[in-house]
């Protein structure tokens, strides 16, 4: 899909059909409402990327070494929280007491060319990770579709990419070092402190601050990603073949539209070249068309579907090819808020179909595409993929729009299908509800948490809610 063309066509169509009636619902540019003020010389506020979480930490620390971090933890006042890039939508970071940034705990520690393992500091941003590993002849087997987060935040919140044969980021960690709230530095792996190792890799940062991870990598490889516009139902009917035939497959369902976007990614073949443009502003164009047409009584939804089918149907495929760490991530510059649940893989198509139908039936004001991915089962205690292959479905809303009422409707569908919420994204579950979703290891995790943090130094309001006091 030539999304530059899409923008031009869709804006022209949207604007042409509304006769200036847009004023009541025109986009505000995706601007989140800043929750805190900035006054020079006063406490510097912290806000997450999405603009829905903020705090005024009294003490900020940016340790550059594990020893410095240990020193900070031993003397820290009040509730201590760690932050990497601040890309989580859930309130895992906010504290008005002590905020520890891992920004300076970044870079390569060591590597082994024989085993293809590398030890990397936890504050390393994913956008740095690819080039770092490439320079030593390694690459992570899979990555999320954006590379802004820090490695530590990505792993402890179970961040993932897509691909039925690939686990979440934490599944590729073979060892880690954990700085505990009491100031110990623990080596953890399958062989050493194995229970802590299984708990930390999906802990929302409730057990300590990881200083470094050892990753099981592979040799560098190139990928080619092909984006196509296809009927959504055809993709869902064929989903098992898509997953089987591609190294990575995901799709985007567009609310109220019968077409969606397929994204198939495979090892690059000789001669493949880039085609078209990947445009991060395309979602704003989608919003313009939606807000121009969907409100029209009786015929709005049908018009919107027809318009999108016509516009998108004329677009060519977009092909992106290159080193894996350049193809996996996409630009994300339009601000949004996100809720994601992982349902058992076999339930994915039914769950998505019910979401799409509910959006139409209840006329929920969604136009942002819904992301639909598959992830392999793992053995990380509180991973959304623990013990079962998962289908992760992500609902988005623009950063300047209220998401709560609409997300609540969709959340009930996720729960009906046995969904587990992403630790770093928006959900409303508390510890009692979450415990039921993790029957095998919830109590094991709680015992580890209480042993490592008996005084609850790391427990902010959100963590108390999801893990209990």
């Amino acid at each position: 899909m030539k999304r530059r063309t899409f923008i031009k066509q869709s804006i022209a169509l949207g604007g042409g059909l509304t006769f200036g009636a847009m004023s009541a619902c025109s986009p505000k540019g995706g601007e989140p409402q800043a929750p805190l003020e900035f006054v020079s010389g006063k406490t510097l506020p912290w806000t997450n990327w999405a603009g829905n979480q903020a705090c005024n930490p009294s003490w900020r620390h940016s340790p550059a070494t594990a020893d410095e971090l240990i020193s900070v933890l031993k003397s820290a006042k009040g509730v201590v929280r760690a932050v990497g890039a601040g890309h989580s939508f859930s309130a895992v970071v906010p504290t008005d007491d002590t905020l520890v940034s891992t920004d300076l705990l970044s870079g390569l520690v060591s590597y082994d060319a024989m085993t293809l393992q590398a030890t990397v500091k936890s504050g390393t941003r994913l956008h740095d990770l690819g080039p770092i590993l490439n320079s030593i002849g390694q690459a992570v087997p899979n990555m999320p579709d954006m590379d802004y987060p820090a490695l530590g935040g990505a792993i402890v919140n179970s961040t993932h990419g897509t691909g039925k044969n690939f686990g979440s980021m934490g599944a590729y960690a073979t060892a880690l070092k954990l700085a505990t709230p009491s100031g110990e530095l623990l080596d953890c792996s399958k062989e050493k402190n194995s229970e802590i190792f299984n708990a930390v890799r999906a802990s929302a940062g409730s057990l300590g601050i990881v200083t470094e991870f050892t990753l099981q990598n592979q040799k560098p490889f190139k990928l080619t990603e092909v984006n196509k516009i296809e009927p959504l139902e055809e993709m869902l009917d064929d989903i098992e073949n898509r997953n089987e035939n591609h190294r990575h497959f995901e799709l985007y369902a567009i609310p109220y539209a019968s077409v969606g976007i397929s994204v198939a990614t495979d090892i690059a073949k000789s001669g493949e070249v880039n085609k078209g443009e990947d445009d991060p502003q395309a979602v704003n164009a989608l919003r313009t068309v939606f807000e121009s047409l969907a409100w029209i009584p009786l015929v709005g939804e049908a018009l919107y579907d027809s318009a999108l089918t016509m516009i998108l149907g004329s677009e060519a495929n977009v092909i992106r090819t290159g080193p894996s760490f350049e193809v996996f991530p996409h630009l994300r510059i339009v601000r949004f808020r996100e809720m994601e649940y992982t349902v058992p893989a076999s339930e994915g198509p039914a769950c998505l179909r019910e979401i799409m139908q509910t959006i139409k039936d209840k006329k929920l004001p969604f136009s942002f595409p819904i992301e639909y991915r598959y992830v392999k089962a793992d053995d990380i205690w509180l991973s959304m993929f623990e013990g079962q292959d998962g289908c992760s479905i992500s609902i988005h809303e623009y950063g300047d729009l209220d998401f709560k009422a609409s997300f609540a409707v969709i959340e009930t569908i996720f729960l009906k299908y046995g969904g587990r919420p992403h630790w770093g994204k928006i959900h409303t579950l508390d510890s009692h509800q979450l415990a039921k979703l993790y029957p095998r290891h919830w109590q094991d995790f709680q015992e580890i948490r209480r042993s490592l943090d008996p005084q609850g130094k790391l427990m902010n309001t959100h963590l108390k809610s999801i893990f209990g006091s």
């Binding site: 603009g51 990497g84 920004d103 024989m114 504050g123 601000r335």
Partner: protein, 120 residues
């Protein structure tokens, strides 16, 4: 495992963003506004980890460091407005420019460096 230990923390920065490229960005910014103090090693790491992922990436659509015309409107709005936008975020620019480790002073100095603000 038999590791090849790397003890020099700065090596990461060189791996991620070749030192020649990084130095070129900084020199170009200092050339635009020669009165700006050169950043220290810590600030260079913050710059590399955070600011340059967009302001040295033409695909991000963000104004590019060292390209004076990209910053004309920003400089015209002044440092105080730009600083507020930097801290709270605006359009594609995330709050604090992703830099949770930055103090207000770090942010001001990196803002002046990246945007090429002239002397007051």
């Amino acid at each position: 495992m038999s590791n090849y230990e790397i003890s020099n923390n700065n090596k990461t920065s060189r791996i991620v963003l070749g030192s020649t490229v990084l130095v070129a960005f900084i020199v170009s910014a200092l050339f635009i506004s020669p009165s700006i103090a050169a950043p220290g090693a810590r600030q260079i790491k913050l710059l590399s980890n955070n600011c340059l992922q967009c302001h040295a990436n033409p695909e991000s659509t963000a104004p590019l460091m060292g390209v004076a015309k990209d910053w004309k409107a920003v400089i015209e709005q002044g440092e105080d407005v730009t600083m507020k936008n930097l801290v709270l975020g605006i359009r594609g620019m995330p709050p604090l420019g992703y830099c949770s480790a930055c103090s207000e002073q770090d942010l001001r100095e990196l803002m002046r460096l990246v945007a090429g603000f002239p002397d007051k």
